[in-house]
């Protein structure tokens, strides 16, 4: 075997970005994911470079179909993202982006929980710089909140793996499940929540919608590709077939679409739809049959590409106009026609139009849900599928490129951005049109699924066209909610507003009490002074104060002598 550890080529690219400049750096950065992908092709299935650490067997590199699939995906995604970011003159972003991609690759090839933990934390530490790279106050504080969540996830993972190391005497990362006895049950849940935070489970999702839209145009492409997909991989490996995931997933698929409809920041709309898409994957993992699991990982694969493409087109809009709010945009199809078309390809892919990538993977999860008797889940997923078309498929292109003309006149984005978006768009169409030769060929579980039958194409087209009809109808009747400059409260309100307010109130009450106490002490001291001083005569009221100092002195000497005399005689009296 001639391969190296899978994450090394990308990490080497990050090093090259630190030390090199100019065309040499660009070439090495572009070569890193290509070499990395070729390196994966040279890997056979199995465990490599295993070692022992404090008596535990570690497997830093475990290669099987599941890890390979995500490995290829991350190299493809990082290549597109690097092309997109080539024009950026900011070393921090290049280094962080490549190191972040390398950490994601390291995480999916980790055969033991300790290695996973190391890359888990590296994911957090490298990616936060992509948020801070925006260099705005909002991005700084948002980055800190992001980091707190990510580190919390890491701490939970560490606690869980320590319990497992104690109970099982092994650190290997295989099926974990939620059925254990005693303390191992606690460990299983800790790891479950560690994965859940990175997966943006409901109530743990606000770090994602808070921070991703605050990153730079190119930083968001990296962010949207890796963290959540590593978590999806980890669930597929550790918790397949856990029914609770079905219900969590369907919640994730449904609630963000309501927020997405009224959100003004178009990249935040995409962040909400990112959670919605992960919901589909989590449902698939929860169902746990071969078809469902294949659907989940296939959807993860497709999602990285089409969500990346949509994020890239919105990043291009932000880069060229400096604006990203739906209320400030519109009519850009005149000056950015290519970007418009590429955005529509991304929109068609996420909406699962036949011949586009979302179609071939989302349908697997839906089919599995019906087959396993999850009726209501299937209905809700169908609703979520219509909803995603509504907000990501129609709203994003409509408010950015069409709607009312905002008067903004700009040009197409830099060539490298256009090339990256074209790569993404072409990949979406290839994945959707030739699934058997591409994404299906990588699927880890045995299957024989064909998405292109008459029923499926027809029903999907009906669903989508009538969702669009609802949009047209609501728009013509002026019932569609206009884009408004606004902030919508989400669960981050609890820690960004409620908790600080409570703390402020408690602190101000405590401080107020202290201040009142201090004042009363001062007043009483002043009172004592006033009681002992006759301000009319300008003299103190006390007996001794009225005497000359020398007279006072004599009195005290007399007192002392008396005491001395008594002390002298007392021993004799006893």
């Amino acid at each position: 075997m001639n391969s190296v550890i899978p994450f090394l080529p990308l990490m080497f690219g990050a090093l090259a970005a630190i030390f090199l400049r100019g065309w040499l750096r660009n070439i090495l950065m572009l070569a890193a994911p290509i070499v990395g992908a070729l390196n994966l092709m040279g890997l056979e299935h199995g465990v490599f470079w295993s070692l022992e650490f404090m008596g535990y067997a570690l497997e830093p590199v475990r290669v099987d179909k599941l890890s390979l699939m995500f490995g290829y995906l991350f190299h493809l995604a990082s290549f597109i993202a690097i092309v997109y970011a080539l024009h950026v003159k900011d070393t921090m972003q290049h280094v962080a982006g490549l190191a972040y991609a390398a950490s994601a690759v390291g995480a999916v090839f980790a055969g033991d929980l300790l290695t996973l933990f190391v890359f888990w934390e590296l994911l957090a530490l490298t990616s936060v710089f992509l948020i801070w790279a925006r260099r705005t106050d909002r991005a700084y504080s948002s980055g800190f909140r992001y980091l707190i969540f990510q580190i919390l996830s890491g701490v939970l993972l560490l606690a869980g793996l320590l319990i497992f190391a104690q109970v099982n005497n092994s650190l290997l990362f295989n099926h974990i499940g939620l059925q254990h006895d005693g303390i191992a049950q606690v460990g299983a849940w800790l790891i479950f929540f560690a994965f859940g935070i990175k997966c943006a489970f409901p109530f743990m999702h606000s770090w994602l919608t808070d921070s991703y839209p605050e990153s730079t145009p190119s930083g968001t492409i990296f962010l949207a590709s890796f963290t959540t997909k590593v978590a999806v991989y980890a669930f597929a490996r550790g918790y397949p077939g856990e029914e609770i995931l079905v219900w969590i997933g369907v919640t994730m698929a449904c609630f963000p679409i309501f927020f997405a409809v009224i959100e003004n920041d178009l990249r935040r709309v995409l962040a909400y739809s990112l959670i919605n898409q992960i919901g589909f994957m989590i449902v698939g993992i929860g169902i746990g049959t071969a078809l469902a699991l294949n659907g989940a990982v296939a959807h993860a694969f497709n999602d990285v590409i089409f969500k990346g493409l949509l994020m890239m087109t919105m990043g291009a809009v932000l880069h060229m106009t400096g604006k990203i709010n739906g209320s400030e945009l519109g009519g850009l199809y005149k000056s950015m026609p290519k970007t418009t078309i590429l955005c529509i390809v991304g929109a068609a892919s996420i909406s699962a139009f036949p011949l586009f990538s979302g179609f071939v993977s989302k349908s697997m999860i839906m089919a599995a849900a019906v087959k396993e008797g999850y009726d209501y889940v299937w209905l809700l997923l169908l609703f979520a599928a219509a909803g995603v078309f509504h907000h990501a498929g129609i709203k994003i292109p409509y408010f950015a490129f069409f709607a009312h003309d905002s008067g903004i006149r700009t040009t197409e984005p830099p060539k490298n951005m256009l090339i990256a978006m074209t790569l993404g768009a072409v990949t979406c169409v290839i994945l959707g049109t030739f699934p058997a030769q591409t994404v299906y060929a990588l699927l880890p579980w045995e299957h024989d699924y064909n998405p292109y039958d008459m029923t499926h194409v027809l029903t999907q087209l009906q669903l989508l066209f009538f969702s669009a009809l609802a949009f047209v109808w609501l728009n013509l009747r002026n019932m569609y909610p206009p884009e408004l400059p606004s902030t919508n409260l989400d669960t981050d309100w609890f820690y960004r507003k409620l908790a600080p307010n409570v703390i402020k109130r408690v602190a101000s009450t405590v401080y107020g009490t202290y201040e009142r106490f201090e004042k009363s002490v001062v007043i009483s001291i002043k009172g004592i002074i006033q009681n002992t001083y006759d301000s009319e005569l300008g003299k103190p009221k006390g007996y001794f104060a009225r005497l000359w100092p020398i007279e006072t002195m004599v009195v005290w000497v007399a007192v002392l002598l008396t005491v001395y005399l008594m002390i002298y005689y007392i021993p004799d009296l006893l």
Binding site: F259, L382, G387, D405, T459, L463, F466, P481, R496
Partner: protein, 84 residues
């Protein structure tokens, strides 16, 4: 004036929009008609309802938008809400 030149965009002309919408309505109609001609596989009882997917998509999206609009009354705040 550049203003006048710009307003020549394809989607600025109401007659173009009208034409496109007409095509769109026809396609929607055809999809429903196809539902009666082609025999769909039925995986679930609800799918027996004629044009089930079309109805579900339309109603689902309308409900989605109306509920989301109502949510604004509760959760919408000013743009600088968190910066104040």
């Amino acid at each position: 004036m550049t203003e006048q030149h710009d307003s020549d965009g394809f989607f600025d002309k109401p007659e173009n929009i009208k034409k496109m919408l007409r095509v769109f309505y026809v396609v929607c109609g055809l999809l429903v008609v196809t539902d009666f001609i082609v025999h769909r596989h039925i995986y679930h009882d609800w799918e027996n309802i004629p044009a089930f997917y079309a109805i579900y998509g339309f109603v689902g999206c309308t409900v989605l938008v109306i509920v989301a609009k109502a949510m604004r009354k509760v959760i919408m705040r000013g743009e600088d809400y968190y910066d104040e």
